[in-house]
Amino acid sequence: MTAAGRSAGRVARGISPPGALFAVLGLAALLVPFMTIAANRIVAGEGVMVWRLATPAAALPGVACIVAALLVGLRTHGQPLRLAGAILGLAGLLWLLVQGAPALLADAGDYARVSPAIGFWCLLVILMLLMADALAQMTPGPLARTGLLSAVLGALALILWSGALSPLSILQEHAGRSGAFADAALRHLALAFGSLAVAGAIGFPLGILCHRRSGLRASLLPVLSLLQTIPSLAMFGLMIPILGWVGDSVPGAQALGIAGIGFAPAFLALVLYSLLPVVGNTVAGLAATPPAALDAARGMGMTPGQRLLRVELPLGLPVILTGLRIVLVQNIGLAVIAGLIGGGGFGTFVFQGLNQTATDLILLGALPTVALALCAAIVMDILVDLTRPTPKEAA
């Protein structure tokens, strides 16, 4: 091997492979339009490059932060530094938005709209992946992750509350319907968490029954799997005639708000989708008890109820909670479709936006949904970790 080859080998060992990928993609993303400006909220906009956003002096700090983040991300060690770099990069992105939006709007018409464009979104994803990569290697404990999530959410709330981003089109859309947005958020949460609660209340006892009776398990799980395979649009559509009929023919049903369209059919569809993960994971969790521990529990004189409460449930809890995590994340996403049958939630904005070809209105529905699902996933992961039956160092 030549001296040059050896030194190249040494350099390659010092570079993190994902970091290299992020750096290449990130630098490329700086060369595509960072924001768009459009004459109004409907027409297609015109892309604006990073260096045309504002005065070079205003844009430079932001770009410098992003480039620095990508370069620090190349390192294989010093994860806290990589994490700090990623956060600096995200701050740079924010800086560019805050500097660019008013500058672009300054010499445009009254109805002009600015939005983040492909370059911004790519960089956002890349920097978040970089952050996740650094975090994954630091393996923070449940407490640290809770703190980090709170800090990120707090920072996001502070930025939105400060109004620094309000010139952006998506926040203009929000400003016009802030009351409706709050209602939709509440409705979305009610759909996702309510259906989770009902699915848990039904699925949990069903799972325990299935665990005890293999006959029931053999017949019930295929039915639930079948429900799971119905495409979501079809499922929501199917609920309309069924609940419509119930609302018309069962006395008092309409008084309870049960009708072919609206909250009830969306809620029911979500509950049906949730049953398989809840029942399936309950059965799997309870079955995961070591056979010797179960035999010992019987042999020492525990009743079936005591075995369930003291041995099977505590040992199965992480698997059961993983089922609830699947349901929660799935339902937050699926609840968007409720907007289509009048069930409310963030889906309302998505479908309004699609009808009006107003991209930023679609985003007003989609972005909170994504953020909500992400937070739910992180919180549930923390809960799963906290319920591990033995401390980590013992495993």
Binding site: P290, A292, A293, L294, D295, A296, A297, R298, G299, M300, G301, M302, T303, Q306, R310, V311, P314, L315, P389, T390, P391, A394, A395
Partner: protein, 311 residues
């Protein structure tokens, strides 16, 4: 006293245990030994009604096991199994205190009992009480499993291959521990194993099972000297029979006046150990101490004569 009275277990057409009658005296260890499929584990599990007998009954101190609800019966009978069956999510202390807790003992009493048992099994209570089973070695896990079975001072302790998962050196230590603790507490133990060596080493009485039937129930010496069937003889091992027999007899039995050269052995050591010492060091006798005091000798010739008695 445990009386097993014409107990039978059938599964469909096959008979796992076939009319076994057997009595185990209080304060003794009875080892049930057999090959796999001999019905030994089923027999054991019928005593605490983990399996319900098809016919026949078991009486503990005169009282039929059918007179009590199964889960209440089991709380009075200790149960230790192969692979210990400890609850991985509970500390050592909670594992050992499991049955007393089921029986509603007060916290202080459970804690005192846990510490007492840990000390009995040579495990420092402060160091082990709050650990999890996964943090223990195999031998320690097994000791905690036996301690848990003893926690509520049961009338009877059932053990199903309790040492099966241990390596030979640790297994020998665990067997010695069990013997020591059983002597100290006066427990009544029924232990199942496939290992005749273990049966002879531990048992006051050995019960040999074959094809669901009890083929011989006798003292270890009788099992070695007069095996009832070819299978029992096979399990004892023809070549090793004299040595196994000698391993059951303490030096005190052949103690005589006189002196001998070389290192002394305690009177509780077995004739097999003395024979080995004679052969290895080329001596014709070994000196013997009783409670540390030189008290005579045991001769090679006497050992040879004793082995020829076959009993």
């Amino acid at each position: 006293m445990i009386e097993i009275d014409r107990i039978t277990k059938t599964y469909g057409d096959s008979t796992a245990v076939d009319g076994v009658t057997m009595t185990a005296e209080t304060g003794t260890i009875t080892v049930i030994v057999g090959t796999s499929g001999s019905g030994k584990t089923t027999l054991l599990r019928m005593i605490n009604r983990l399996e319900e007998p098809s016919s026949g009954e078991v009486r503990i101190n005169g009282e039929s096991t059918r007179a009590t609800k199964p889960h209440l019966l089991r709380r009075r009978i200790g149960y230790a199994i192969q692979g210990h069956g400890l609850f991985p999510h509970h500390t050592v202390g909670r594992n050992i205190g499991a049955v007393p807790q089921l029986m509603g003992w007060k916290k202080d009493r459970i804690r005192a009992r846990v510490d007492e048992l840990l000390s009995l099994f040579s495990m420092e209570p402060d160091a082990f009480r709050d650990r999890y089973p996964a943090e223990l070695s195999g031998g320690q896990q097994q000791r905690v499993g036996v301690a848990r079975a003893l926690a509520s001072r049961p009338d009877l302790l059932l053990m199903d291959e309790p040492f099966g998962a241990l390596d030979p050196i640790i297994r020998a230590r665990a067997q010695d521990d069990l013997r020591r603790i059983q002597r100290r507490l006066g427990s009544t133990i029924l232990l199942v194993t496939h290992d005749m060596e273990e049966a002879i080493r531990l048992g006051d009485r050995v019960a040999v099972m074959d094809g669901g039937r009890l083929v011989q129930h006798a003292t270890p010496a009788e099992i070695i000297a007069q095996p009832a069937t070819p299978l029992v003889a096979d399990m004892v091992g023809d070549v090793e029979r004299p040595l196994r027999l000698l391993s059951l007899i303490p030096l005190s039995e052949l103690l005589e006046e006189g002196t001998a050269p070389g290192e002394a052995m305690p009177a509780e050591a077995s004739l097999r150990d003395a024979l080995a010492a004679c052969l290895w060091s080329g001596r014709s006798a070994v000196p013997v101490t009783v409670d540390g005091v030189p008290s005579g000798r045991v001769t090679f010739e006497a050992i040879r004569a004793r082995a020829e008695l076959h009993a």
